[in-house]
């Protein structure tokens, strides 16, 4: 999920002046205007696997399975599903669902969608990660899907919630059949056909009306929607990527609801009479990663040895961090202290895992490890990617320095930071991970598992850490279809990963929405702003 804000100014007088602003009665004209913090790179639902794109598609295109505000699976176009055996799943599709052009939704639309996903031209980051597990699809009748996977694949329903289903008929794909090696079709719909609106035909609660890149996307209510009708006749999405102007647009009444107002404005927004806030813990954890390379790139004073290879040193650094202080003083309360990679309530969270803060114990451990006088360390961090990222890094640096590890911060803009980090140019870096699947296998697989190309493990493991036993635990969990058993396996794995102190969690970001008084929105852990879930007060 790429979010950008080039300017993060404080709005000094914003809330005070808002006292004087006129409050238009909500719900008068049933138009909702949303100020978004980022713009989708295209309207094509399969073009770019990116937060703003998914947010946009969820209004027009639906998936078989969806996630609720707490990221638990719930039926969408599929009414129910079950694992027939280890490698076979059966989905019963909802009947009477109509696409925006009036044609009926059937199993063929799903088949066509899965076929199209690998065939999107120029896709910067495609959804094939989520269709790879599918080995075969059969449709015994138009409203039943039987999906086979090559090996036991418990994450299938989760992954089916990530992509929207397009109309096979609108794209001329009624005859396309699924083939693992590659489906056959004369041509595939272009991204352009979605951007110009001609293929914006989904089953969702809103119909596409118009789109001006960089300025606005306008949607209209779908009167034939199968589910509850949205409260809005018209929805306008306006990208306002700079933080201050986005808040100003809300206060001025230009927009009705905005995403992620800057942390420093939240207190003031709270006291503004015509604004209400909604907030929820997100699925994103901010963490420190400790590199165990043989020659540490940013550690000095240890004769070239890497002290982080010693578990005692890593434990000491974890003990040095005062998470409560970071949350209170730097995150202004818009975060929760983290003790693992996903908050309580998420699938795979292990309630027994805890973290502690103890500077004396930390010093003692450092001395035991042979570094009574500590060493010098440079901590890498982006300064425009996560909420207050560089300030958090500064605070961590002070906490490290307090136990004797002299720490400097190297804060750079996100695109420079990520390039350096991916070349493993930091011994310790600060970053964040949002588990799009809402379950623990996501951070474990990406951040701490040994990089194994074939399995897609360790894609964001830039620490050189490798624990074959942990990899094995993940292997087992990812092949266990029984939900209860898998959760236990993941809980054991997260315990083992946390004991290694390679990825040290700091806090979970809290996502905030600000809206006109009189509107309400159930805050979502996945951070999407969904117009169909915004409701006027009764």
């Amino acid at each position: 999920m790429l979010r950008s804000g080039i300017v993060k100014p404080l709005l000094p007088a914003a809330a005070a002046l808002a006292l004087l602003a006129a409050v238009p009665a909500p719900g008068q004209a049933a138009t909702l205007t949303v100020g978004t913090s980022a713009e989708p790179s295209a309207l094509d639902p399969h073009y770019h696997n990116l937060g703003p794109n998914t947010r946009a598609r969820k209004h027009v295109f639906e998936s078989l399975v969806s996630m609720d505000a707490k990221m638990r699976l719930q039926p969408e176009l599929a009414e129910s599903w079950r694992a027939v055996d280890e490698t076979t799943w059966e989905f019963k599709l909802r009947k009477g669902v109509k696409f925006h052009d009036g044609t009926e939704f059937t199993a063929q639309d799903f088949v066509y969608t899965v076929c199209r996903i690998p065939n999107v031209a120029n896709s910067p980051s495609s959804f094939t990660v989520y269709t790879k597990g599918i080995a075969g699809i059969e449709a015994p009748d138009p409203h039943t899907l039987v999906i086979r996977t090559g090996k036991p694949y418990p994450l299938l329903p989760v992954e089916l919630s990530t992509f929207g289903i397009i109309s096979a008929k609108a794209a001329g794909g009624e005859a396309v059949t699924f083939d693992k090696a590659g489906c056959k079709a004369d041509s595939w719909p272009t991204t352009q056909a979605f951007n110009d609106g001609s293929l914006m035909i989904g089953t969702g609660p809103f119909k596409h009306k118009s789109y001006t890149k960089g300025d606005r996307q306008i949607l209209e209510r779908n009167p034939d929607y199968w589910g509850p009708q949205a409260a809005w006749d018209t929805v306008v999405f306006r990208p306002i990527t700079s933080d201050g102007p986005r808040v100003a647009a809300l206060l001025a009444g230009d927009v009705d609801i905005i995403e992620s107002p800057p942390v420093q404005d939240i207190e003031r927004l709270k006291s503004a009479p015509n604004v209400s806030l909604a907030q929820a813990q997100s699925n994103r954890v901010i963490y420190l990663a400790l590199g165990v390379q043989d020659t540490p790139p940013t550690i000095t004073g240890t004769d070239g040895k890497n002290p982080l290879k010693d578990p005692k040193v890593r434990k000491a650094l974890s003990l040095a961090v005062d998470r409560d202080a970071i949350v209170k003083r730097i995150m202004m309360g818009v975060a929760e202290p983290a003790n693992q990679y996903l908050p309580a309530g998420f699938y795979g969270n292990n309630p027994e895992v805890t973290v502690a803060t103890d500077a004396n114990k930390a010093k003692q451990l450092l001395a035991e490890a042979g570094y009574p006088k500590g060493f010098q360390l440079t901590l890498g961090t982006p300064n425009d990617r996560y909420i207050n990222d560089d300030k958090v890094a500064q605070a961590v640096a002070q906490m490290f320095t307090r136990i004797g590890v002299q720490t400097q911060v190297d804060a750079t803009t996100a695109n420079v930071f990520f390039s350096k980090r991916n070349k493993q140019e930091y011994s310790v870096f600060l970053a964040g991970w949002g588990a799009d699947s809402g379950e623990m296998s996501s951070p474990l697989k990406a951040l701490i598992a040994t990089p194994i190309k074939e399995k897609g493990y360790g894609t964001t493991n830039y620490t050189s850490y490798s624990d074959p036993e942990l990899d094995g635990m993940l292997d087992t969990a990812l092949a266990t279809v029984d939900d209860a058993k898998r959760e236990k396996l993941l809980q054991d794995a997260v315990k083992r990963a946390m004991d290694a102190d390679i990825i040290i969690p700091l806090h979970y970001e809290v996502t905030v929405w600000a809206m006109k008084k009189g509107l309400s929105y159930e805050p979502r852990a996945d951070q999407y702003t969904l117009a169909q879930k915004v409701t006027p007060a009764k």
Binding site: A14, A18, Y47, N49, T212, G214, G244, A252, F418, W433
Partner: protein, 325 residues
């Protein structure tokens, strides 16, 4: 005249080539687009495929040659992020920026010249001093801050004007413009004023300095002595002569307004080229950044050429001969 234009075009070509090399090398140094573009959940196969498709697996000189090859054919590459031709993306945003820039220039000229004239004719009057003090503020206050203050005052507190965006547009010559609708005009006012402030101060200062100098010239004294109406003296004899520096500077400034309206466009969420540039730099969308900068260079070249031509019309003493350098 023809020789002059030809020579200028040849010089411009050199500038464009030099710029493209610099820009290409510069953007190459920033970071690897793949790290920003691709989903962190993507596996190694995905990454490798994306890198190959974007041509990022090739060494820099090879990428540059490929770029030059297609650029000669008018293709500046495909946006990494949006998957559409980069040049088209930039040109699509051009009308919004042009509209904003022209409005800002209009504000600067329509207000700046009379104010500057006044301050120049009556330098010691209260009004003259107020104008000059105001112009200092216009120079020194940061655009970003002024923009936020304008929004706070006119959008949030008074509620007269919208806080940002482009509003309703209407088509003319196949392009969408804001100034043709009432809603669009309302959206245009604040950003245009914000962008105009600096230019306004500049015009005031130029006009004032010119007026003070010209007002003391013999031909002005003579015109006055002849008994010409003061309005005619100011309107013809003074105004025409102070326009030469004003036109030159405004011409150059028009280019910079178009190219560097980045801040105003960000503050007012104005969907122009400047905002596209910022977003593209953040996402390391190299083709779009390069296309933007090349378009900007061309724009500067063309504007400078026009300025030189207008200049020669205003002051017949200036010849655009080919002989002298």
């Amino acid at each position: 005249m023809l020789v002059f234009i030809l020579r200028r075009l040849a010089q411009s070509a050199v500038v464009v080539v030099a710029m493209s090399v610099l820009v290409f090398a510069g953007i190459f140094a920033i970071g690897n687009p793949i790290d920003v573009l691709i989903s962190p959940e993507a596996d190694e196969f995905e990454r490798a495929a994306a890198i190959a498709r974007l041509g990022l697996d090739k060494p820099m000189h090879e990428q540059f040659l490929r770029f030059v090859e297609s650029a000669v054919g008018g293709d500046l590459g495909t946006s990494f992020v949006h998957g559409v031709p980069a040049l088209g993306l930039v040109l699509q945003r051009f009308p919004a920026t042009l509209e904003l820039a022209l409005c800002a220039m209009l504000v600067a000229v329509v207000l700046g010249i009379p104010l500057g004239l006044w301050a120049g004719l009556k330098p010691d009057s209260l009004a003259g001093r107020v104008i000059m003090t105001g112009s200092i503020l216009g120079f020194s206050l940061p655009t970003f801050w002024v923009g936020m203050m304008l929004i706070m005052a006119f959008a949030v507190t008074l509620g007269w004007l919208p806080a940002g965006g482009r509003g309703e547009t209407a088509g003319l010559f196949g392009v969408q413009w804001s100034f043709l609708t009432a809603d669009g005009l309302a959206h245009l006012i604040l950003p245009a004023v914000n962008l105009a402030l600096f230019k306004l101060s500049l015009v005031i200062r130029l006009a004032r300095a010119g007026t003070r100098e010209v007002a003391l010239q013999d031909y002005v004294k003579f015109a006055r002595a002849k008994g010409l109406a003061p309005a005619r003296v100011v309107g013809v004899h003074i105004l025409k002569n102070i326009m030469i520096p004003v036109v030159t500077v405004l011409g150059l400034e028009l280019g910079s307004v178009i190219a560097f309206s980045v801040v105003t466009e960000s503050v007012f969420a104005w969907p122009g080229m400047g905002k596209l540039l910022i977003d593209s730099i953040l996402q390391l969308d190299r083709p779009v950044v390069i296309a933007y900068l090349l378009v900007t260079v061309l724009l500067f070249v063309v504007i400078n050429l026009i300025v030189d031509l207008v200049y020669s019309l205003l002051d017949p003493r200036i010849r655009l001969g080919g002989g002298r350098a």
